[in-house]
Amino acid sequence: MTTKLFGEPVRRREDGRLITGRGRYLDDIGHDALAVAFVRSPHAHARVTDIDVDAALDVEGLVAVYTYEDLLGPMAEPLPVLIPHPQLTAPRTGYPLVRDVVHHMGEAVVMVVATDRYVAEDACDRITVSYEQLPVVVGVDAAREARHAVHEDVPDNVAARHHQETGDVEAALAASAHTLAFTQYIERSACMPMEGKGVHAAWDPADSSLRVYTSTQASTSVRAAIAAKLQLSLEKVEVVAPDVGGGFGVKIVHPWPEELLVPMAAIALQRPVKWTEDRREHFISSAHERQQRQEIRVGYDDDGRLTALDVRIWHDNGAYTPYGIIVPIVTATQLVGPYVVPTYRVRVDSVYTNTVIVTPYRGAGRPQGCYAMERTMDRIAQERGLDRAEVRARNLIQPDQFPYDHHLTFQDGRPVIYDSGDYPGLLDKLTALVGWSGVEERRAEATARGKLLGIGMAMYVEGTGPGPYEGGHVQVLGSGKVLVSTGLTSQGQGHETAFAQIVAHELGVPIEDVEVTTGDTRRFGYAVGTFASRAAVMSGNAIALAARGVKEKALRIAGEALEVDPSDLEIDEGLVQVKGTPGISIPLRTVAVLSNPLRYAFDEAAKQATQFAGPGDDSKPPVAAGDAPGLEHVDYYSPVRSTFASGAHAAVVEIDTLTWEIDVVQYAVVHDCGTIVNPMIVEGQVHGGVAQGVGGALYERMAYDADGQLQNASFMDFLMPYASEVPDIDIDHQQTPSPLNPLGLKGAGEAGVIPGTAAIASAIEDATGRRIAAMPISPTELYDLVRDDAAGRVAPRRTGAMA
């Protein structure tokens, strides 16, 4: 029997090259390419009055300088609004190079091409751009006050008003036994992959074709964008995502200006051209996420059960809206979490500010939604004098309520109908894992050491694996090698391994024979991209279906060759054999040879498929009608709607009463992503997500000043956690397979980050007795809070055995 692979912690196939320095990331490609650097705006809002490049022209090694004036045809038009939406009434996007008005610090004004990056930066230094500064809008509150406009023709700064409701919330609130209302804030962080963006483009004049390598999460769509913007025929453009050094969302946005400008220059100059984003550029000209102001009104009964929820959010979308209102929609619809919300209304104003654009960062609006809902649960518990776990338990959707329809519309335009889950199960596992009922003893013990101990929890439901589709191609070669490809890209999630496990399992071949390619339009031209925890669900299922197609064909051909009924055959370790009858078999690689009737032999194996090799049925054509040569199959998976993963996290913090340092001393995760392909990879995803969650709760923040200057655009001052800042993580799993897809999978990529801010805020509040209504929080801010007599205090804490 083939070694069991599906569901096992198979070691990663990617690692061999990555641990020996043989990975091939964007900047590893094309050392002879010309290098690009940009002159970027130092101002957040300004009109460009003059660009003087003269002083740069005598820099030795300068090749070309481009400004907006050099952009032609579609390149001179605004960048696309990738995801239009009827409620996005005032979409605005920038130009590849600034046309007249700069809307955030870091926007590219001039592109310089030179012999290397050093020289390109020398030339940039000598270019003088004159600006007339305009009033600056920073932060959601300034945006909604609208004393100044980010875009002249959007005077209220509102890009979109997103609105969903499931009933008459005002009436439901009025009828509620209890209500409370509060306002809270969450700040900006960013994906911050260790590798920035980058683009390499080479034009082949011999056949007028373009090959572009880009550090992207969506190579097929970059290809389409380049073809459209540079007016090339699609088949003349190839886009390849090489090894990508992390994405977390920022690389799903496309086309970045550089993804168009670099190919444009490569064609114009007839030389390979490369741009490698440096860290400062990544801070000021890629994307951030998470700032929202949330005003919440909630109604509930004596037992703390929700009766009505009304949420008003102002979402900072930065200077432009290329990614539409996906993040606001995700916040609005994922906010309800695992709970029954009888009447719900959500209104999100997505507002412009003179800051870097806001597009999905791992979680993509979910951490904010979770923060809103879970802090609401905590408030109800405090007000009712109930255990926080108990209030949650009373509000959970029960296992017999699936499929559960929230009567909302998700980011994929489909209904929010939870497919499966066991939320009470999550909560039970979590309270056991973290020792929820034993916390009072720990609190006393910590107090004796001069520490305030607090515990917090947060639960979430995460819509994963949205459509529209992904595809997979599986092909068995005459050598026995199995080629697998899918169009979506990889940024470290271990797709090569997980997809190989699926194919080895479905097809019955040794995993060593399977080779997986992702994100290369030369191999697979149809794809959507890697985002929203969808790769395993979408491509995993598409590849499984493709493998099943190959298997069916292989059994048919083998059946003919062995003169047995295909239904009596199985494939094991690459051998097609009669079930229960060892000895009658044919290698899969031979089946692959036979699948392609040949006239010409080129090796011994091929001889078996040539026209004089053996007796055939002279009455039939060599390739039957409706059949195709080759042992391969392409299939697609397109779900009716998203599948909903879920989880629950708890954090225990200790706070030093002298220095107000906050230490996360325990972090517990219970996680349900349906059927698991590779538990080692899933746990790795959870670990990474939790680290980003802790970072977002306690360390990371984009610090803009009132002039729109990003003050901490470096790793020195933007505090991504080192190993010393990330707690040990205890993980427990629950598996409720999705009924929506053949493999029962749900997405796992983003989950780890979602509840971090909510759980840690709750734990700090529990420890200090002070209301935590703005996150992240640092020791200096906590110190301000605890000595501010006007700051909110919370009722005496109750954490203990569940009632």
Partner: protein
């Protein structure tokens, strides 16, 4: 983020280094460990015309520990000073503070003297030089001279040394009899520049009463300063002394700034806490060194 062009020289002798520095004028800059300078070059926040790399200058890489103190040559890396038992024996603050300098890979390359010459008030060794009453030796074409720490630090990233000059060593006086030291700092992430740090020296009299208590802070104020807190604790037996009084006094003496990572108030709070902690630890060590 690539440096602007510059010329490079790597002289073999101090005379040669001074000669190049003199010849190249204002735009020339000394390169030792480079751990602070290179980021400034790559961000083009500094653009010297010439870098004079002193890493190949002979005779600048020794640590001389004697009864009077420890002389640390300009090319001694933090990591080496950290591991030097003889130096730690003469002046324990050296190893204690060096352990808090950034991360190991930075300590492997960065030099102690370079970090002092960089005069960053958030650099650990500037405070240690001050607290120990140390000095640096500045070599110029006119010869060598010792410059006491008070005269050396002029402002943030600014020293009194101008023109062609190389800081060839730093001298840290030995820890006095019946004295002990401690060093502690708090940073947002381990290895970051401290939000606040403190070094302390406590001296006892023969009866184990506190006769002196001094501290210096990092990331507090524009230049290193030594605060004499003796009046708050003088004459108290070491095992009953109230270090909180010294902490309270310290808080009134400092004038910290607000930045992205901490408010001035919070820094003042930490000054109190760290003062108390380091003085207590230093006193404990002093007790062990008092027969």
């Amino acid at each position: 983020m690539k440096p602007a062009p510059f010329g490079y020289a790597d002289p073999r002798t101090l005379a040669e280094a001074l000669e190049v520095l003199g010849r190249e004028g204002e735009g020339a800059k000394v390169l030792a460990g480079g751990q602070s300078l290179l980021p400034l070059l790559s961000m083009r926040l500094a653009a010297p015309t010439t870098l004079v790399d002193i890493n190949r200058v002979a005779g600048l890489d020794s640590i001389e520990s004697g009864p009077d103190g420890v002389r640390v040559g300009a090319l001694v890396r933090h990591a080496r000073l950290l591991d030097d038992a003889a130096a730690a024996g003469v002046q324990p603050l050296l190893a204690r503070a060096t352990a808090s300098v950034a991360h190991p890979a930075i300590r492997n390359r960065g030099t102690t003297v370079g970090s002092i010459a960089h005069a960053d008030p958030s650099g650990e060794m500037t405070a240690v030089l001050a607290l120990t009453g140390g000095s640096v030796t500045v070599a110029t074409p006119a010869g060598r001279s010792a410059v006491g720490w008070q005269d050396f630090f002029v402002g943030p990233l600014e020293t009194s040394v101008h023109g062609p000059a190389v800081v060839v060593d730093a001298f840290f006086p030995a820890l006095a009899q019946r004295s002990g030291t401690a060093f502690a700092e708090l940073s947002r992430r381990r290895g970051d520049y401290a939000v606040c740090g403190a070094g302390a020296v406590v001296t006892l009299d023969a009866d184990r009463r506190v006769s002196a208590a001094r501290t210096a802070y990092i990331s507090v104020g524009l230049v290193p300063q030594v605060h004499d807190l003796t009046e708050a604790v003088a004459g108290r037996p070491v095992d009953t002394v109230d270090w909180a009084a010294a902490g309270a006094l310290a808080r009134t003496l400092v004038d910290p700034d607000t930045d992205l990572h901490a408010s001035a108030d919070y820094r003042r709070l930490l000054v109190g806490v760290l003062t108390e902690r380091t003085l207590a630890a230093a006193a404990l060590e002093a007790t062990g060194r008092t027969p």
